[in-house]
């Protein structure tokens, strides 16, 4: 059809429509390219190799733990919880940024989220999978974990629903289910694109099955968008409840250093903080590696840096409030706990926590640090370290110096503790690298929808 024919029926020129279509197909092409390039960059293979090695280490460590017993860890009489629950809280916190980006920012109509939402949702799911390992294996008899599920049984017993540990079971499993369904649902239109672009029969069938026969019809889109909005609206209170419930595991106990009302908001802020740091640790290198800089733009990275700065400062405030409340309470156990946290045998852990979480993110006040990828990744890795240490400090310093000095004990990890933690990163990165190679890493349909070209050909445009 020539431009002359088009102009009399369409209010706008053929040129505009053509440019819009080219924009849409370039979005498809650039994003699908990540999965379609004949060979991924060499470094992808290198990273996958390392990740698989670490994953193997996790398998060895967990197998040894399960076949031998919890004694292989450094846990002792004072520290029934040590690295196991530290790792659990660390990983579950990482997941929260994904839901925040995909749901909360969606409700606030922050369109810049579209470029990072998919990969952060994937990160959420993989982080929840890593997190889920620890509460199960730390019981020592993981094959009995199904006792947590309320079911009629020959012991005639039901779970104790007023225990925060049961709340945890419900919160985490709801969170995992919701995140997975939200992620998958968002991916279906893009899987349909992959299905339509695939040249090999196997890929057509596999992507075809998971695309569920999506046709992109307006009637389907209508219900789909409603459902997406509802899921976002449901995920938002959910994400707040999950880390609040995790914090109840501590806050409802009587232990000084745990028994505080500030924990739920403090944990949620910390979770978002650590999650954003992890998103950036993953995406800043990935956008270079897979040539996605024009889709995940510098502005998007900058916005994430600002959120990291804000939440990091909130966490810093929480540290200060904890000390104030300890002093204000007039409770000597409480006061001792916090002075011991800062100056006791774990002073070094406290120092790492404060410097990584409060001090280093302050660099993001300066634009230079929000635009330099190396500095961003550097600060984000420090934040990840700092947030791991935050959970370590909360759990281990409180347990190691409880009420009675005869019960005091210093915790030292064994090699199995270290292998389990490092190995969990192997699981996380393996899944993430596979995701990045085989699934639509960015929501193509959403990027197209928020592009200005989506209004091409409309009279009110």
């Amino acid at each position: 059809m020539s431009a002359a024919e088009a102009t009399d029926t369409h209010g706008h020129g053929h040129g505009e429509a053509e440019a819009a279509r080219q924009k849409f197909s370039s979005i498809t092409r650039d994003i699908a390219w990540v999965a379609e390039m004949p060979k991924p960059p060499k470094i992808w293979y290198g990273l996958l190799g390392v990740s698989l090695l670490l994953l193997g280490m996790l398998v060895v460590a967990v197998t040894h733990l399960v076949t031998t017993g919890i004694g292989v860890w450094g846990n002792n009489n004072a520290q029934g919880w040590a690295w196991d629950i530290t790792n659990f809280v660390f990983w579950i916190g990482i997941g929260h940024a994904g839901t925040l980006i995909s749901a909360v920012l969606y409700l606030f109509r922050q369109n810049w989220r579209t470029s990072i939402a998919r990969s952060s949702e994937a990160m959420t799911i993989f982080a929840v999978m890593c997190a889920g390992i620890f509460p199960i294996i730390h019981t020592g008899r993981p094959w009995l974990a199904w006792w947590m599920i309320p079911h009629p049984n020959d012991m005639q017993m039901w779970p104790q629903f007023r225990s925060p540990l049961m709340w945890d079971v419900f919160a985490i499993s709801t969170y995992a289910t919701t995140s997975l369904l939200f992620w998958y649902m968002g991916m279906v239109p893009d899987l349909a694109t992959f299905r339509d672009r695939s040249k090999s029969k196997i890929k057509q069938v596999i992507y075809g099955i998971f695309a569920l026969g999506w046709r992109g019809s307006a009637r389907q889109w209508h219900r789909y968008e409603r459902a997406y909005l509802i899921l976002a609206a449901l995920s938002t209170p959910l994400v707040v409840s999950v880390h609040s419930v995790v914090s109840f595991d501590f806050a409802t106990s009587q232990l000084p250093g745990w028994h505080t009302t500030i924990f739920p908001p403090y944990f949620v802020a910390g979770a978002i903080f650590s999650g954003f740091a992890m998103v950036m640790t993953l995406l800043v290198p990935a956008r270079y590696l897979f040539n996605l800089k024009h889709i995940i733009t510098d502005d998007h990275i900058e916005a994430m840096c600002k959120i990291t700065l804000a939440t990091g400062t909130m966490v810093g405030c929480a540290y200060a409030i904890e000390f104030f409340i300890a002093w204000y309470s007039g409770n000597e156990f409480e006061q001792f706990t916090f002075i011991n946290r800062m100056l006791g045998p774990y002073w070094w852990a406290y120092f790492i926590m404060v410097s990584c979480n409060l001090l280093f993110p302050q660099l993001f006040w300066m634009r230079k640090f929000r635009t330099n990828p190396w500095l961003i990744v550097g600060v984000c890795i420090l934040v990840n370290i700092g947030m791991w240490f935050e959970r370590f400090v909360i759990i281990v310093t409180s347990l190691s110096r409880a009420f009675v000095p005869s019960g005091w004990h210093y915790f030292s990890p064994t090699k199995w503790d270290i292998m389990t933690l490092v190995g969990s990163f192997g699981l996380f990165f393996t899944l993430f690298l596979l995701f990045f190679r085989y699934l639509p890493v960015i929501a193509m349909s959403e990027v197209k929808m928020v592009a200005p070209e989506a209004h091409a050909g409309k009279d009110d445009h």
Binding site: H10, E18, R21, R162, R197, G216, A218, V245
Partner: protein, 437 residues
């Protein structure tokens, strides 16, 4: 199929004016027409014209939700939110009901005497079940309302249709619409701004009109196969077996060791339990470094340890048991502790246990030790000792609680009780009979 070779030429749709309605080779039944528009805005306008022309069985296809299309096509708001709201309320209700029923009704959890039902502590789980049920309803409800999964659709036969997931804006009208006429509908679409209109036919092979049969067969077969483990479990639950349970993980209930009554094929007699080897002597044999009571271990004194001598119950006392006043006192003390609760302090069988049984409506009473007719009085001492040691009828044996020596003291005291309860004046020493009168 491929869009990787997309270039400007692809968008010059030369087939826009192609004669519509040309059946393909051996073509099947007509499904409808598919029109292409060159921008989201053109699609919205086209959709409005199609709707205004009175068509109902049509739909638009685009790579992203096009703003304004719902109004143009006259799509009614979905009732999904209402359904989800209902699911949410149900989730709250079920969450609370589950917790109340399990923790307060079916098995009331008593935690330090606190109420078994206290709302605040039950809120977190009700909150999560609310969200969980809402999320599941949203997810599955959306697919059900959208009639998906449906991996088979006639439009998938057209190469053009793959643009709907890339950069194309398509409008399809089904032949089943009552206003549908291939030529007139094609004309309408062209007037409405379509850059290309193409008829779509079902596959000439009627078998390919639907999902292939083998997919249904596969789904049916996997469903049936998935039931097999469940069926085996149900069968195992309903039937009896002489074999012990099969445990996937033995925990510490099952340890790699043999108990005395286990079978063990490695020994000729098939038993794990090994008898005493001929000629075995006690570890406390003379000359052993540890001080020990040889007799207590070997128990060769059958009168003392079994109440038997020469195969008969002994009627006297074992050699080492002296009938002293001191022993009698010891026997009374032990009797009052171990025997009196049932047999009573006087031996007549009216202890506090039978009293309690009778109070609760039972008819049981302990045996009267002193009644000549009841048989205990005439019982040989050895048999009485054996009864104390190993029990009789509902009475349990006391060998694990009362040492041998004390059991003989009790025998002695029981004899004294029997004498005292069945005494005649002749039993009183002659010089004291006067005091009783």
């Amino acid at each position: 199929m491929s869009t990787s070779t997309h270039d400007a030429d692809n968008h010059e749709h030369g087939d826009a004016g192609a004669p519509a309605g040309d059946k393909p080779e051996g073509g099947g039944e007509l499904y409808g027409v598919l029109a292409e528009f060159d921008s989201p805005g053109a699609l919205v306008k086209g959709a409005r014209k199609v709707k205004d022309a009175g068509y109902a069985d049509f739909d638009c296809y685009s790579p992203f939700p096009v703003h304004g299309i719902d109004d143009a096509m006259g799509i009614k708001r979905t009732i999904l939110p209402v359904v989800v709201f209902g699911a949410g309320i149900t989730g709250t209700g079920l969450g609370l009901l589950m917790q109340w029923w399990m923790n307060s009704y079916d098995w009331p959890w008593n935690v330090g005497g606190k109420p078994t039902w206290s709302i605040p502590a039950n809120i977190p789980i009700a909150y999560e079940t609310t969200i969980l049920l809402s999320v599941l309803t949203t997810f599955f409800g959306m697919w059900i309302f959208n009639k998906l999964p449906q991996v088979w659709h006639p439009f998938f036969r057209l190469d053009r249709f793959t643009k709907a997931s890339d950069d194309g804006f398509l409008l399809g009208i089904e032949a089943k619409d009552k206003r549908f006429d291939l030529d007139r509908t094609t004309e309408l679409l062209k007037k409405a701004g379509a850059t290309a209109v193409e008829p779509c036919y079902h596959d000439p092979d009627p078998a390919k009109k639907q999902m292939p049969k083998w997919i249904y067969a596969f789904i049916a077969a996997t469903t049936v196969m998935a039931m097999i483990p469940l069926a085996l479990i149900l069968k195992a639950r309903a039937s009896k077996s002489t074999q012990p349970h099969w445990h996937v993980i033995a925990d510490m209930d099952f340890q790699p060791k043999f108990k005395s009554d286990n079978a063990f094929a490695a020994f000729p007699d098939g038993r794990a339990n090994r008898g005493e080897i001929a000629g075995t002597v006690s570890t406390c044999s003379p000359g052993s470094p540890r001080p020990c009571d040889h007799d207590r271990h070997v128990k060769s004194d059958t009168a003392m340890y079994q109440g038997i001598e020469g195969g008969e119950w002994i009627t006297g006392l074992p050699r080492s048991v002296e009938p002293t006043a001191q022993r009698l006192a010891r026997g009374k003390e032990r009797y009052d502790i171990f025997c009196a609760p049932c047999h009573g302090f006087d031996g007549k069988g009216a202890g506090i246990v039978p009293a309690r049984v009778q109070k609760l409506g039972g008819a049981w009473a302990a045996r009267d030790l002193t009644d000549v007719g009841a048989g205990v009085v005439t019982m040989p001492n050895g048999q009485l000792f054996n009864t104390i040691s190993n029990g009789f009828a509902t009475m349990m044996g006391y060998s694990s609680q009362i040492p041998v020596d004390d059991r003989w003291s009790i025998v002695l005291y029981v004899r004294a009780l029997q004498r005292s309860q069945n005494a005649t004046l002749d039993d009183v020493p002659a010089d004291q009979r006067g005091a009783l009168r």
